[in-house]
Amino acid sequence: MAVNPVFPAKAKSQKGPVFFKGKKFMERFSQSMATIIIAVGAVAILIPVIWMFASALKLKSNVNSMPPTFIPRQAAIIQVNGEDLFMYEVNLENGETKNLAAVKLDPVNSKFVDPNDPTQVYYAPADNATQIFNVVLHWENFATVWSNPNSPFMVFLKNTFIYSVVAVIGEVLSCSFVAFGFARLRAPGKDILFLFILATLMIPYAVLMIPQYVMFTRYIPDLINGLLGTHIKLADTWWPLMLPKFFGSAYLIFLVRQFYMSIPKDYDEAARIDGAGFLRTWWEIILPMSRPVLVAMAVLSFMYHWNDYLGPLIYLNSMKKLPMSVGLTTYNATYQPSTNLLMAGSLIAVLPLIIIFFFLNRYFIQGVVVSGVKG
């Protein structure tokens, strides 16, 4: 399959100018077709997101309107003689077009009045009139959701943020530390321990969640209380969720280790000659060189914990401790909010992540790529 570097160009020119032109055309054609397909797909991908924004800004009665509209709009209404009337754009018989308020709609003879001068009455068939809609963005939906006193979104957001940040710090620190051992140091038993890491990757959370729950809500508090005579409880606290993050995650350790392996050993040796110990080598030489994988790892971890649902669902139940994910479902279950409010709430939940994604999207992609290709 090896290609002689001389031949490709020659081979192309052998085919003659006409064919060459045709080929160029074909290439252009397929490239534009590809772009069109991708663009159409991108629109399809974006529609749900746009739909979410649109629904969040609508009035309750407009969310359910058929046909669905992307622009939050509502029928223009005007008060004439103390009555609320819908506004229509009416084509009058004399060819004029006027914005009028409908008093009575009738297929043949609808009655309209001029809102500026209610004595002026016009008649026209209903087909000649089109209802007027105004674009109204109901930003207050967000305020309504946000200020719901019994489901504190501000607290949910704060909890999720703290959880994500603590988890990122814990995982990045512990995994980059542990990975150094596996990538750089030699010791008996290392291979078998590394196999354990790989084996842990296979264990579904379903297996661990029950015994972990029992351990954190019964065994550990019982042990501590028995030893110290205290009365601590770990159920309905963040401890069971945050503490394990400081002990590394098999997946991320594997990821960082793969990256460390690609850094030449010469750096370690140079550091050693300069009198640096392993700790300093890790902190001052290896860590700064691993910035891309550390950022990618941080982003992956942040994203995972921001969306985490099952963990908090199992451990937490008091309202002021819930993260956004569980808080949102609780809000939905207790208040049965109308769709526009639920979408506003959902947007509050995902917007911070979307904003971070657009700023750091390079690192998000990198994180996935590193995890996929290197793994």
Binding site: A34, L46, R186, P204, I210, A250, M324, V368
Partner: protein, 308 residues
């Protein structure tokens, strides 16, 4: 790893290095013993008992016997199978398709990539609510579009027949993550191979089949295996959309959802632990099977660093 395996140096320096190794890995080692190994052992014990938070009685294999007579267990397996068998292939094939098209020197590659990846960022509860709205048979946009082109919209999440297909459709939205991985793989395929094939007069289809697919087959396998393991453990979306019931009439009772109900609604920790081990065995068996079967198909340029 291969270069240092077996060459464990002796002497004071080596002992010192080994000591540091254990210091470095100590966080993981402690965490592994406390938060993984101990729970695993506990879970094995629970699976042979009637543990329900308050009392624990050893019952031997009764949990497993009950499990194999539990109609809902088979039902949950069947639903999970029904979901996985379509969702995973659909997802990885569509993702590959998009990645291959994107790789045709489409302008603004990183822009498109960002858009396709966006849904994967916001997975979770909010997305579940969003899709429940989109697939709402009376006010949802997809239902409206279907009606518009003359197809009567199914009742999706509200229909026993259509609830799993609804999750397939929803899953398509998440093709961004595997797609990004494919793209990275595709960009690593040497262009020389394509040029050589062009000289031989190969068509685009032949190039795709005989160069692209073999060259990215490890990535394909990776996406397939991770997709499979993920699909078998799907929980959040179904839990949120069906309000934790797996409805309508158990039609979306995925395995982990059933397990969750057994454990945290009915407090049957022993029985749920037995269920969890069955899931573990299924995952291990399937992974082994597919890795084994892929051996003759997947092309590795060089042995990977870890030897797996």
């Amino acid at each position: 790893m291969a270069s240092i395996a077996g060459i464990i140096p002796k002497g004071k320096l080596a002992r010192q290095e080994a000591g540091w190794f254990y210091i470095f890995i100590s966080p993981w080692l402690i965490g592994f013993l406390a938060f993984t190994l101990f729970p695993i052992l506990a879970s094995v014990v629970y699976s042979f008992t009637t543990y329900n938070v308050t009392e624990m009685k050893y019952v031997g294999l009764d949990n497993f016997k009950e499990l194999f007579n539990d109609k809902l267990f088979y039902w949950a397996l069947w639903i999970t199978f029904k979901y996985t068998i379509v969702a995973v292939p659909l997802n990885i094939v569509l993702a590959l398709l998009v990645a291959v098209i994107l790789n045709q020197r489409v302008p603004f590659l990183s822009f498109w990539r960002t858009i396709y990846y966006l849904p994967s960022v916001i997975s979770g509860v909010a997305v579940a609510f969003l899709w429940r709205l989109i697939l709402n048979p009376s006010i949802g946009i997809l239902s409206y579009l279907l009606t518009k082109v003359g197809i009567e919209s199914p009742r999706w999440f509200w229909s026993e027949t259509w609830v799993i297909p609804a999750y397939w459709v929803m899953g398509i939205w998440g093709i961004g993550a595997p797609m990004v991985i494919y793209l990275a793989g595709l960009q690593g395929v040497p262009t020389a191979l394509y040029e050589a094939a062009e000289i031989d007069g190969a068509s685009s289809w032949r190039k795709f089949l005989n160069i692209t697919i073999p060259m990215i087959s490890p990535v394909l396998l990776f996406n397939f295996i991770t997709g499979l393991i993920g699909a078998l453990q799907t929980f959040t979306t179904v839990y949120v959309i069906s309000n934790g019931d797996g409805g309508p009439n158990y039609a979306s009772l995925l395995y982990v959802l059933y397990l969750f109900k057994v454990a945290f609604r009915w407090n049957r920790f022993g029985y749920a632990s037995a269920m969890a081990w069955v899931l573990f065995l299924i995952i291990v068996a399937l992974t082994y099977l597919f890795l084994r079967a892929s051996r003759s198909v997947v092309y590795y340029e060089e042995p990977s660093a870890t030897g797996i």
